[in-house]
């Protein structure tokens, strides 16, 4: 049993990492086609770019403590695969990890990670000239702020204001199932994964005939829209990439990651996209990444690019939004999520 758990987890992590290296390529290809460009080859942005960055010359970051600066990215990279694992059938029974709180908790850790990363980055790009400011008529320099500090403030605002509706939307299917267990949410939509199910797990048509995805109900459609907005917020994708808006704070907290740490960051972002897509497919469509049901596994992997592709389309048609626009959007999304929750509680 423990060996199965270990081997299954290793397989899932390998699948996640492999897919994480492809997703950026898919996004870039969609983005480019919308702009009448060919775009880079599919494997270039995710795989070859990472490989290239990995062998670049090591650059010490401008940071009060580079080790901490690296550590927080490592924490992000290590905790994200656990979100995939906890939403997977093989972990459902382990110490209560297969609950909505475990997933939300880890997602929150990922969000908070940017605060720490930003706090430990002091890029030279934020500084003035390396000699006294003697421009005629210039105001004396005081209280100069690093770009990363602005990004941290923005990240804090995003945590408090913008990501709230995502968690609310994620909670709705659990309210429908009347349980905090992911297993119950999946069973509600897909009885195949019930421990009492006698249906064989190798026939896709038969499996699909039992599938009743939550996303196809009215509250589900609302929650899907809210989750999609949240997907873009959590992955810092345009139009919600204010924490790394190029025109002012450039790369924000991630500015000082170079060479192999830049490669790690690329993998981390790809992995995050994969993870959030995987959660959506498991919780909103009732199709978990089940290793013991190959057709379901295949279907899950085929559906993974949906959110990244939609995100790439949104990104191609959006400018960077400031908090003047983000706050109303976030408020609307929160209201939508509350309506979905109310509809659920009213058994609509």
């Amino acid at each position: 049993m423990i060996l199965d758990l270990i081997l299954g987890s290793v397989a899932l992590v390998c699948i996640s990492f492999a897919y994480a290296l492809i997703i950026p390529g898919i996004e870039r290809k969609v983005h480019a086609r919308i702009q009448n460009r060919y775009g880079p080859p599919l494997t270039t942005p995710g795989f070859w770019n990472v490989l290239k960055a990995f062998f670049k010359q090591k650059v010490t970051p401008n940071s009060p403590n580079p080790r901490f600066y690296y550590m927080f990215l490592t924490i992000g990279l290590l905790e994200v695969p656990f979100i995939v694992l906890f939403s997977n059938p093989i972990w459902w029974g382990v110490l209560g990890f297969g609950t909505v709180f475990a997933i939300m908790g880890l997602m929150k850790v990922e969000e908070v990670d940017y605060l720490f990363i930003g706090s430990f980055s002091k890029s030279i790009m934020s500084l003035g000239m390396p000699f006294p400011d003697i421009v005629k008529g210039a105001k004396p320099a005081q209280d100069r702020r690093y770009f990363e500090e602005i990004s941290v403030t923005r990240a804090l605002k995003m945590i408090t204001i913008s990501s709230f509706p995502v968690y609310l939307a994620l909670f709705v299917p659990f309210a429908v199932a009347g349980s905090l267990q992911i297993q119950d949410v999946v069973n509600m939509q897909n009885p195949l994964f019930s421990p009492l199910s006698q249906i064989p797990l190798n026939s896709l048509p038969q499996m699909l005939s039992f599938l009743k995805p939550f996303a196809f109900t009215l509250p589900g459609v609302i929650c899907t829209i809210v989750y999609f907005i949240g997907y873009n917020i959590l992955t810092n994708a345009r139009p919600f990439d204010i924490i790394k808006s190029k025109v002012d704070v450039m790369e924000g907290p991630m500015m000082e990651y170079a060479s192999k740490w830049r490669a790690v960051y690329y993998v981390f972002t790809g992995l995050l996209s994969f993870t959030l897509s995987s959660i959506f497919i498991t919780i909103f469509l009732g199709i978990p990444l089940a290793l013991n049901a190959p057709p379901m596994l295949l279907l899950h992997l085929l559906l993974i690019p949906i959110l990244p592709i939609l995100s790439a389309i949104l990104r191609a048609f959006s400018p960077v939004l400031t908090f003047k626009q983000i706050i109303p959007i976030s408020s609307t999304a929160s209201v939508m999520a509350f309506i979905a929750l109310a509809l659920t509680l009213l058994k609509f």
Binding site: M125, G128, F323
Partner: protein
């Protein structure tokens, strides 16, 4: 808490080397300071003592984006000094190249503004519209940039358009109009882009006048200062001076979109009325001239060239005043009250051209001594 955020001189949002210091409270800009001259080029110094026939070619190199305007205005000032008159056909062709260049500059600006807003697709769309224009300019002048069309007394004969070239330009104008309609309509009706540009970077008319803002920056605030109204070259053509009153980033972008249509109107009229005859006239070179000056409406606003030719036919005291310094100074005021991210857009919305502007002179009022502005002196002041 009020803190300072320095942007530049090296920053991905600034395509040229200047420095902006924002003082922000939370995300709101409460004060701003813009400094330039970090990359001094000293073209006026180079022009000192150059033979008059060569001087205009150097003046053209001031800017890549509005090279024709610099060259044309340099030639206008020189012709004024020497008492030369260009032929009528040459005048028309100068206007033709100028309006083609104005369109390409405005499309470049729209692309850059879209980039600063963060909308990549509009960047590509704007550049897709601009590319055929660059090919037309290549066809007409033999170059995509630095066309070197005007010469003293006329234009270079290679830029005299054949019937086939005229047909191609007509085809371009016909082709561009519906594409531009579609682009402008989509751009101005995009709710996300409009939410970024509407109401941000407001430059009031009184502030625009106080800081001597010029060109589209001033006209978007309701200041009617298009130099083309005073230029005899534009007398034969019927076109409208676009004026908007909102003074925000949206107005500055919209105004340039609308000006492209007026330029297309002028181009069509030039092609319809293009007179026959020589493109270069006989010019008598009378050296040892008085100071001559010329104003022109470049894509960014009023451009001024002045010079004197000495007895040996060499240029003396060449001075250039470009539209950017006063426009940037206005933007210092316009961006106050913006969100930090919008403030960068506001600065970009006056389409600053630092390669044009890094040449200011410091004159000591008491001694009358002049020195070229160095790095530590490029403060934008009223």
């Amino acid at each position: 808490m009020r803190v300072e955020v320095p942007v530049g001189t090296i920053h991905p949002a600034l395509i040229e080397p200047f420095r902006v210091r924002f003082w922000v409270e939370d995300e709101e800009v409460v004060d701003c300071e813009i400094t330039y001259n970090a990359a001094h080029r000293g073209i006026e110094k180079i022009l000192e003592g150059v033979p008059v026939l060569k001087a205009s070619m150097i003046a053209e190199k001031v800017c890549g984006l509005c090279s024709h305007f610099h060259l044309w205005n340099s030639i206008r000032a020189t012709e004024k000094a020497l008492g030369a008159t260009p032929t009528e056909r040459a005048q028309y062709i100068r206007v033709l190249v100028a309006e083609l260049e104005r369109i390409h500059s405005h499309l470049f600006f729209i692309g850059h503004a879209s980039e600063v807003v963060g909308h990549e697709t509009f960047v590509y769309r704007a550049f897709e519209l601009r590319e055929p224009l660059m090919r037309i300019l290549f066809e007409l002048t033999g170059n995509r940039v630095h066309y070197a069309v005007p010469v003293i007394g006329g234009i270079r004969p290679r830029a005299n358009p054949s019937e086939e070239t005229i047909k191609k330009i007509r085809g371009y104008v016909k082709d561009l109009t519906p594409k531009l309609d579609s682009f402008v309509q989509r751009f101005l009706s995009d709710p996300l882009v409009m939410s970024r540009v509407t109401g941000s970077g407001i430059l009031k008319k009184s502030v625009a006048e106080e800081f001597y803002a010029v060109g589209p920056t001033a006209r978007a605030s309701g200041v009617n200062n298009d130099v083309r109204q005073q230029m005899p070259e534009y007398k034969p053509f019927d076109y409208k001076i676009i004026l908007l009153n909102d003074g925000d980033n949206k107005a500055r972008v919209t105004l340039r979109c609308l000006e492209i249509y007026e330029s297309l109107k002028i181009i069509t009229q030039v092609l319809d009325k293009l007179p026959a005859g020589p493109v270069v006239g006989d010019v008598k070179l009378n050296f040892d001239t008085q100071f001559a000056e010329a104003y022109i409406e470049a894509p960014r606003g009023e451009l001024y060239h002045t010079l004197r030719v000495d007895a040996k036919g060499k240029v003396r005291n060449y001075r250039i005043r470009t539209p950017t310094p006063t426009n940037l100074a206005s933007m210092e005021k316009a961006c106050v009250g913006d969100q930090l991210t919008d403030a960068v857009l506001t600065i970009a919305s006056c389409d600053p051209c630092l390669s044009c502007s890094n040449r200011a002179l410091v004159v000591d009022a008491e001694s009358g001594k002049e020195r070229m502005q160095e790095f530590n002196g490029g403060r934008c002041v009223k």
